[in-house]
């Protein structure tokens, strides 16, 4: 599913990586627990999370995740943005809950990891 399509479905704002709207992800994984994210072996994952701190970005870096969607209007800090920029990531932000976000994307065909 294209990033632009995901943003449109969730009325999401692209905070970083707007120019990569045509790139695609295959899987969605929703978690606030970073150790759970670190168990993933697949590539092409969109991380959907309510955890909004520098470790979210660090975890994505270690897990080779380039696309992160923050639910419930979580505000991305300057240090997060700097690191995400450095790691060439795409950051999206939606006001929808983690549950609603996941439901919409699952229904639209984004695959589940487990």
């Amino acid at each position: 599913m294209k990033i632009g399509e995901i943003a449109a479905l969730l009325d999401a704002t692209c905070i970083l990586g707007e120019e990569r709207r045509d790139e695609e992800v295959i899987y969605g994984f929703a978690s606030d627990l970073m150790s759970d994210v670190l168990t993933l072996t697949q590539e092409g994952i969109l991380l959907i999370t309510g955890l909004c701190n520098i470790q979210t970005i660090r975890t994505a870096e270690m897990a080779n995740i380039q696309f992160i969607l923050f639910a419930r209007n979580k505000q991305i800090t300057k240090d997060m943005l700097t690191l995400a920029e450095q790691e060439n990531m795409v950051l999206l932000q939606t006001r929808y809950s983690l549950f609603k976000t996941s439901g919409i994307l699952y229904q639209a065909g984004l695959k589940s990891v487990y």
Partner: protein, 136 residues
Amino acid sequence: MHFEYTILDNDFANAGAASSSIKKILKQLNIDAKKIKRVVIAVYEAEVNAIAHANGGTIYVDIDDKGIEVTIKDSGPGIADLDLAMQVGYSTASQKVREMGFGAGMGLPNIKNNVDLLDIKTEVGVGTQIKMVVNF
């Protein structure tokens, strides 16, 4: 090739900085991406552990053509029951650690799943030394 990194006590903002550096070095060495991911996930979890439980520590990294060996030494409280600590779901993490997205008792099991060799030496009141090897 030998590198060392210092992990400072309670320095959550920089948790992962050493793993990030190791990732870049391994990429430059053209190591297989799947191997790199295994290494950095194990080191990152260990880094978080050292900050969360052990007042920081030192990371020693040795790389040759056969693989990478990473040893993390700390002078923290040690692990009272290592078998229990290796079980998924067992955790003594603080609220602060949980707020950072960790502390669910998955760190050591995650490390074990990603390395070819794991050797943990620990003594209550003295500290912990974790040696991890990933073969290339």
